[in-house]
């Protein structure tokens, strides 16, 4: 598994500490991140691919400094957002996947074939030529994941990918995430999903409150809310 390392990485905007300087080394295959809204979870994981640049310290992915070698890091680390609508930019499903593949596959025919393979794997082959706007919420999230995973990154960071989904779609997307060969960093409010990880970080007030065993981490988070 790739090594995701934060070395005293933190973010302060004006007087507000969004994330206190944090040092972490993540090498597990399935890493969960839980915690309250606005606690700093998103900032933490957005640093992993350079969407947010730390104001102190640095972030290193497999030896590449995120601030200095951003393009290399983004090829390694894919990112999935809560709302898939914002990241689907092409009119039809197959075209959106092809957009990701443009830099890898210059030949249009080969690109199409590869995009169709990807859609097949994500169970969206029947919708290849449908408008991305006609898909259900769950299908949109699957397509968004297909789009970022098509380039075969080493890591997937997913920021609450199931928050907008119903139970059936949550299960479908979650099963897909946990079947991936890629290293997974999963921000979630779904504690059952957090328990399926190997290591869980609990974030509270811009700090890591707990780091370790998923069961104990979830109990710690629940206890912190109850108190």
């Amino acid at each position: 598994m790739p090594t995701l390392a934060l070395d005293g990485a933190g973010l302060t905007v004006g007087d507000r500490v969004v994330l206190a300087p944090t040092t972490l080394t993540l090498t597990e295959r399935r890493i969960g991140v839980i915690g309250a809204n606005g606690s700093g979870k998103s900032t933490l994981v957005r640093m992993l691919n350079g969407l947010v640049e730390p104001s102190a310290g640095r972030v290193v992915v497999d030896g590449f400094d995120v601030a200095r070698q951003g393009a290399k890091v983004r090829r390694l680390v894919a990112f999935a957002f809560t709302d898939p609508a914002a990241q689907l930019v092409m009119p039809t499903c197959v075209e959106d996947v092809e957009l990701s593949l443009r830099s890898l596959e210059r030949h249009a025919g080969a690109r199409r074939a590869r995009a169709m393979d990807v859609l097949e794997r994500f169970g969206l082959a029947d919708h290849a030529h449908d408008s991305v706007h006609s898909l259900s919420g769950g299908q949109k999230q699957l397509l968004a994941l297909a789009g970022v995973l098509a380039v075969e990154p080493a890591v997937l960071v997913a920021d609450e990918p199931t928050t907008l989904l119903d139970l059936a779609n949550t299960r479908q997307v979650a099963d897909l995430l946990f079947r991936l060969e890629q290293q997974l960093v999963l921000v979630t409010h779904d504690l059952d999903l957090a328990r399926r990880c190997e290591r869980v970080l609990v974030v509270e007030d811009a700090r890591i409150r707990y780091d370790g065993d998923p069961g104990a981490a979830v109990d710690d988070y629940v206890a912190s809310v109850g108190a």
């Binding site: 090829r75 609508a85 990241q87 930019v89 009119p91 039809t92 249009a108 970022v148």
Partner: protein, 204 residues
């Protein structure tokens, strides 16, 4: 809900028009549009419309797509021609109306018979020589894609914001939905920017 305004849904079919090289279609569309706009003649406007209808029949454009895509254009064309009638008289008004409908129809013929990626490849190749003066063809192509993709998304946001204003009983006051609408469009642009950056698009 946003399907009602999809301008450019590609419909896979096997017709002569679909097999044409995308560059040829774009050049033809440009030439056709210029001719229609520059030719000032009411009877000829109908001839241009006939050409567009012919092209639509050959490309087997689905009637539903035509109806959906032309609804907005028809409204605009009606208003425009009403003004023309008032200022310049009947012939000019009829010509404007027929011209606009013909242009819209021809645009639908091209967009429904050409996958967006094929158009992008064409743009990238066409802009390629400008690389020497600092133009990045991939980025030009991406910008065009985003502009096309932003239309249905923005309309969807407008409808949601209007519904939200209604649900709060804020009625028809434009400020009640225009302010949140503009904010949400900008927020959506930021999200899309993040998504593009995360996908490494524009890193090349």
């Amino acid at each position: 809900m946003s399907d009602t305004v999809l301008v450019s849904a590609y419909v896979p079919r096997d017709t002569v028009v679909h097999r044409l090289w995308p560059g040829a279609k774009l050049v033809a569309l440009a030439a056709y549009s210029l001719t229609v706009v520059l030719t000032r003649s009411m009877p000829l406007a109908f001839a241009f419309l006939a050409v567009a209808v012919g092209a639509a029949l050959v490309a087997r454009v689905p009637l539903g797509a035509v109806a959906r895509a032309t609804r907005a254009v028809l409204a605009i064309a009606l208003v425009a021609s009403a003004f023309q009638w008032w200022w310049y008289g009947r012939d000019k008004a009829v010509e404007t109306f027929v011209d606009l409908v013909a242009l819209a129809l021809m645009a639908i013929v091209v967009s429904s018979s050409t996958p967006v990626n094929a158009m992008l490849d064409t743009f990238v190749r066409a802009v390629g020589p400008a690389r020497g003066i600092g133009v990045n063809p991939e980025r030009v192509a991406l910008t065009i894609t985003l502009a096309i993709g932003a239309l249905p998304g923005t309309v969807a946001l407008a409808l949601e914001t209007r519904d939200a204003a209604r649900a709060r009983g804020l009625g028809r006051h434009p400020r009640a939905y225009l302010t949140p609408f503009v904010i949400r469009v900008v927020a959506r642009a930021h999200e899309t920017g993040d998504a593009l950056q995360a996908r490494g698009l524009g890193d090349d």
